[in-house]
């Protein structure tokens, strides 16, 4: 018992650090480890992963709120789409073919990793739009943040709000169905679609994941999918890891974060598509 608890505690720290840096919930890391390495039933792996998503989010949000990286308006506005998506997703689980979803989401992840790769090659971040977006102005979504790496206050504008909402609804769907934080989709909605800079996108995604996951977590909690002996050490480990990861993230330049992100998205996307076609490993 002690050994298992300690190993899972260690996995939690690792997932927390990675999750905080990349703006993902760690569910994508934890579910494969628990099912492949520990032979745990996918149902319990998903339950544990939802807890780790909340722990990453809550652990990191505390740090971000002090550092002004978070855009609370963007988070709450988009949260309407993700929470509704999560509920629809939870209802849809029993109806739609899961294989189809795996392929669909895997494809989206591959697309987004290609997109980020393109951005890497394009160089610096685009912050100032020549034409301000009227919807973003009306909803007061534009903001600024202090970049510790370049030591500058960066003003930014967001655009394509309906597109962002659409992707967020999809992210909520994935979250409700697969018990993941779907951080990559959320970062994609803000960073790729809405043209928000990566650091505030990442921080905002972290907060949103927790709120989205909380909705489905109660379902998992009450139907017994959250095993205390797995979820508890994982939660504590993730909380510690997320706190560490947040410190590291502020020193790393956005470019580095992208370099880590691109192969990760490729890997997960490929894994999801293969799973959709029935290839297991």
């Amino acid at each position: 018992m002690l050994q298992t608890v300690l190993i899972i505690f260690g996995i939690g720290i690792l997932a927390g650090v990675l999750g905080a840096i990349l703006g993902i919930g760690g569910g994508i890391i934890i579910t494969p480890i628990l099912t492949l390495a520990f032979g745990l039933d996918i149902k319990y792996a998903i339950g544990a992963s939802v807890i780790s998503v909340i722990a990453t989010s809550s652990g990191a949000t505390i740090a971000y709120i002090k550092d002004d990286l978070l855009n609370l308006r963007v988070a709450m506005f988009l949260e309407i789409a993700t929470t509704v998506g999560a509920i629809v997703g939870a209802v849809l689980v029993g109806i739609v073919q899961p294989n189809f979803l795996y392929v669909l989401f895997g494809g989206l992840l591959l697309f987004s990793s290609w997109n980020m790769y393109r951005k890497l090659r394009a160089g610096s971040e685009v912050l100032h739009r020549p034409q301000p977006d009227p919807v973003a102005e009306k909803l007061r979504l534009n903001s600024s943040y202090y970049d510790k790496n370049t030591q500058q206050q960066v003003d930014y504008q967001v655009e394509h709000i309906p597109g962002g909402l659409g992707v967020m609804f999809g992210a909520g769907l994935a979250s409700g169905m697969l018990g993941i934080g779907s951080g990559p989709f959320k970062v994609m909605a803000m960073d790729t679609v809405m043209k928000m800079p990566l650091k505030p996108s990442s921080a905002t995604s972290n907060l949103m994941m927790g709120v989205t996951a909380a909705a489905s977590a109660t379902v998992y909690f009450f139907n017994g999918a959250i095993l205390p002996q797995i979820a508890a050490p994982l939660a504590v480990g993730v909380l510690i890891g997320a706190t560490l990861g947040t410190r590291v993230m502020q020193i790393l330049p956005a470019r580095w974060i992208r370099i880590i992100f691109v192969p990760l998205l490729l890997y997960i996307g490929g894994q999801m598509i293969l799973k959709g076609f029935g290839v297991s490993f």
Partner: protein, 126 residues
């Protein structure tokens, strides 16, 4: 105009400080409860429940806590952790209200209603 804005800014900074503190306390309390349950489990080597079972409902969890059953304490801590993002939404409504941002009080309240709806759905659909 300028001083008004400055006043709002310092007020907001204070509100954010309070929110940060509330959240930190919430997360800390959950972590402590989970930690106590974990330590109890490791030291006693017993979950307090037969085989692989564990409590999932408030009644069973509460009666388990009274008897210092490790799994019951861990489940309570995990449930508190699940509530921390909900707490985040609640304090955000307060923050926007302080800022006299009526639009975002409404938007954030909608999020809270959706969350509560999802929770009721989870609780009833067993």
């Amino acid at each position: 105009m300028q001083s008004d804005e400055q006043k709002t800014n310092t007020e907001m900074a204070q509100v954010e400080k309070i929110i940060g503190l509330i959240l930190q306390i919430g997360v800390l309390i959950s972590a402590i409860i989970i930690g106590v349950g974990l330590l109890l489990l490791l030291f006693t080597g017993q979950s307090g429940y037969p085989g692989q079972t564990f409590p999932t409902h408030f009644g069973a969890i509460l009666s388990g806590i009274v008897q210092f059953k490790p799994f019951a304490i861990m489940m309570l801590g995990l449930f508190c952790l699940i509530l921390t993002p909900v707490l985040r939404v609640v304090v955000s409504i307060y923050a926007f209200a302080k800022e006299h941002d009526r639009l975002y009080v409404v938007i954030t309240s909608i999020v809270l209603v959706i969350l509560v709806f999802a929770m009721v759905l989870g609780y009833l659909d067993i």
